[in-house]
Point group: C2
Chain length 438, copies 2
């Protein structure tokens, strides 16, 4: 009752095709449990997505490899590849040098020339924007100070739209076209990726970012979505950071607000309604300093950028009820004084390191990640924060040798979230759902 | 350059076969990122696994449905099903009643008569064991008080082996055979599922549970593994609890130690080395009561069963350095006094509810789960703990309406972890890796 060889082999190789590599974290919304599942009724589109995914995750590869590994027949692969090349999505990049025998195969890769994805970030004191091509190579990157918290949501989105339009103009000069845009915001984002439910440190509440941005942009013929900043920063690190493709990552933003982004087995943790990753209000110190949320002793009231500035350089912080502006130069001043050996500043950063270590230990105990990545303003202050953080972690992580977890500094800095936003747009091509006109 | 219909349809249906339903959480260890991937060289075994998985997740189903949905041809399916029936893994259960036209199809389901999986649990004051058949129906269940903490690891495993042998004898009388055994332990478990790295509340350290258990069992011809109790309890709830198949679940054990088990999008969170889920030592109260771990103010030092007994019924707790024995009757006494309106006991449980709420809020903010399930001794005390927990959660969860999260009591009680252990053994048949002799 055994199969005959050819039949069984056919079945297996077809099956193998769908055993695609571990996909990058999805940020697109889907029904929980439907991870990575396709549901196309159109055969051609399904096969196109299979080929595109394969090329994307095995670039560069030959048509023959695509056929062998996806189980699609060679004629089908050839036809699909021709279409993808015509549409500017895939390109040929000459022969593989690894082949020793026979005619060298023409290799395929994603065409980086035509389409780009845009990631934008609004944070308390800056805007960032990154454009990447289909191969996720960075094409353009902008970071500018902007008083988002005091400007209010409408003015903020207006400036964001100006930034986007200016980038799109530059990209158009390079004959590049935007296929999608994701905006990172430090706050809770609604289930559909359209509006910000609450971003306390920006003072936004139930604000329809996407509608507003579309109105400002005029005629954007591509998908626009909004997502939590820490989530997108974690995606950015997973895709393009110094520890990219490390399967279990914890990202901690170092801004006025402290957010967490969690990559679990290569997928972004979003939770049942997309509200996952809120670590800023872990109650760390009963009766501790007042937090922006109204509670006391929250994680971000102890290690957020405002908290650091108020504690380390009170002479620059103004009244306790006042919004602190110009964070970047003030953080630079904190670092300068610490470098000069200012005892008060050094002690303050040591205490910050302690609270950061205690809180990071909570996360390491829960997630047992390969690494915790610190972003934002933790990076320029790391010299004085990290020594204590390491000692506190050693005292508070339960697993032996910290469960193998290391602490790293973001190398993407203030563009991590924008980078992740752009990368998440590129993911959409895996399902061939994006309009990619020929 | 379009495909002709039959060709393309063949490719798509073959591809569809491998798009199996969201698999249940895996507890078997694998390289991170390789989630659910198969790597068989033997074609027959691969196809057998595909058919078995399909029957398991779509039971009852007909041979024709298996063929249509997996893309395997009918002869192959028929041959494989025949083999599975002969091996006692699949059985026919008569015709589907839903078919209105034509000959009624014979339906297939997993054969519950021949093979069972055993889940065992050691906890501070009890042993539990559950046997389930291939369809995960409970066949046998045992729960007995046992002073595991004072008995020491060797005596404890000896008693566990006696329990297992007695169950296996009963199962043998029913012509049932054990295909695997998983042991839940409240502690850190090594990467290979063989030894307990540290179980502070049992006093175990670097203890080779599996070797010891195998030695006691004599001639176990099946896989034996050990796993963290909270992880397995979360799997038990996900598979057999009142909220089964809820994709995002947080389970909190209510034992002497407090452990967390996290189901994220239907998969158990294990972390990079299997050490995930350690929530018992979240530092909740600086300078709080001393924890078994030596630190102060840990979550479990505030809400663990010992902490509750010491605070609520100090007259029954003995000296503070003494091990508290007979937890179940003491917890019953706590409940009795609370029911009688004993002010001290009621206030104590209210405070426990507050700490539980603050800590659960941390987890809800991070995971945005559909539900938090409370197990163990939280269940009999819930009447007096939960009201305050609900109020504290409302004050500490950031997402609106608690992000949709509800708090539920385990209906599996002290057998949740054993139930999850047994279920995790059954998962192995998805990959056809288990020896299932015909």
């Amino acid at each position: 009752m055994r199969n005959d060889g050819s039949n069984a082999a056919g079945e297996v190789s077809a099956a193998r095709g769908v055993r695609s590599p571990a996909p990058p974290p999805r940020t697109a919304r889907a029904t929980p449990g439907s991870r990575g599942a396709l549901d196309f009724t159109d055969v051609r589109e399904t096969n196109l997505a299979v080929v595109l995914r394969f090329v994307r995750h095995h670039t560069p590869c030959s048509r023959a490899e695509v056929a062998a590994q996806t189980g699609l027949n060679k004629a089908t692969v050839s036809s699909i590849v021709t279409e993808l090349i015509e549409r500017g999505i895939v390109e040929e990049i000459g022969a593989s040098e690894e082949r020793r025998i026979g005619r060298p195969a023409v290799m395929l890769t994603l065409d980086g020339r035509r389409f780009v994805a845009l990631g934008l970030e609004v944070n308390v004191d800056y805007l960032s924007a990154v454009a990447v091509d289909l191969g996720e190579r960075e094409v353009l990157s902008v970071h500018e100070p902007f008083p988002a918290a005091s400007a209010g949501p409408v003015a903020c989105v207006r400036r964001l739209a100006e930034l986007a339009r200016s980038m799109m103009a530059q990209l158009a000069d390079q004959s590049r076209r935007v296929i999608g845009m994701a905006v990172a915001v430090p706050g809770l984002v609604d289930l559909h990726g359209l509006a910000v439910t609450e971003a306390p440190n920006l003072g936004w509440r139930d604000f329809p970012v996407v509608d507003q941005l579309r109105a400002e942009l005029g005629d954007a013929d591509f998908p626009v979505s909004v997502e939590n900043d820490a989530n997108l920063a974690a995606v950015g690190e997973y895709r393009a950071g110094s520890l990219s493709h490390t399967p279990n990552l914890v990202y901690i933003t170092g801004e006025v607000g402290i957010g967490g982004g969690f990559i679990v087995d290569g997928s972004l943790l979003r939770g049942s309604n997309g509200y996952g990753g809120e670590i800023g209000h872990m109650p760390m110190l009963l009766g501790g300093p007042r937090c922006g949320c109204g509670r006391h002793g929250c994680f971000e009231a102890l290690v957020g950028t405002n908290a650091i500035i108020r504690a380390a350089v009170p002479d620059l912080a103004g009244d306790s009820d006042e919004l602190i502006t110009d964070l970047a130069p003030k953080v630079a001043e904190v670092a300068r004084r610490a470098a000069c050996g200012d005892r008060h500043v050094v002690d303050t950063l040591d205490r910050v390191g302690n609270w950061l270590g205690r809180s990071a230990a909570v996360l390491i105990n829960i997630f047992n990640p390969d690494a915790v990545i610190l972003g934002g303003y933790f990076v320029p202050l790391a010299t004085w924060i990290l020594p204590r953080t390491h000692r506190t972690l050693a005292a508070h992580v339960i697993a032996p040798k910290q469960g193998g977890c290391k602490v790293a500094l973001s190398t993407l800095g203030f563009t991590a979230a924008a980078r992740g936003g752009a990368a998440s747009i590129i993911d959409a091509i895996d399902t061939a759902r994006l309009p990619l006109p020929g």
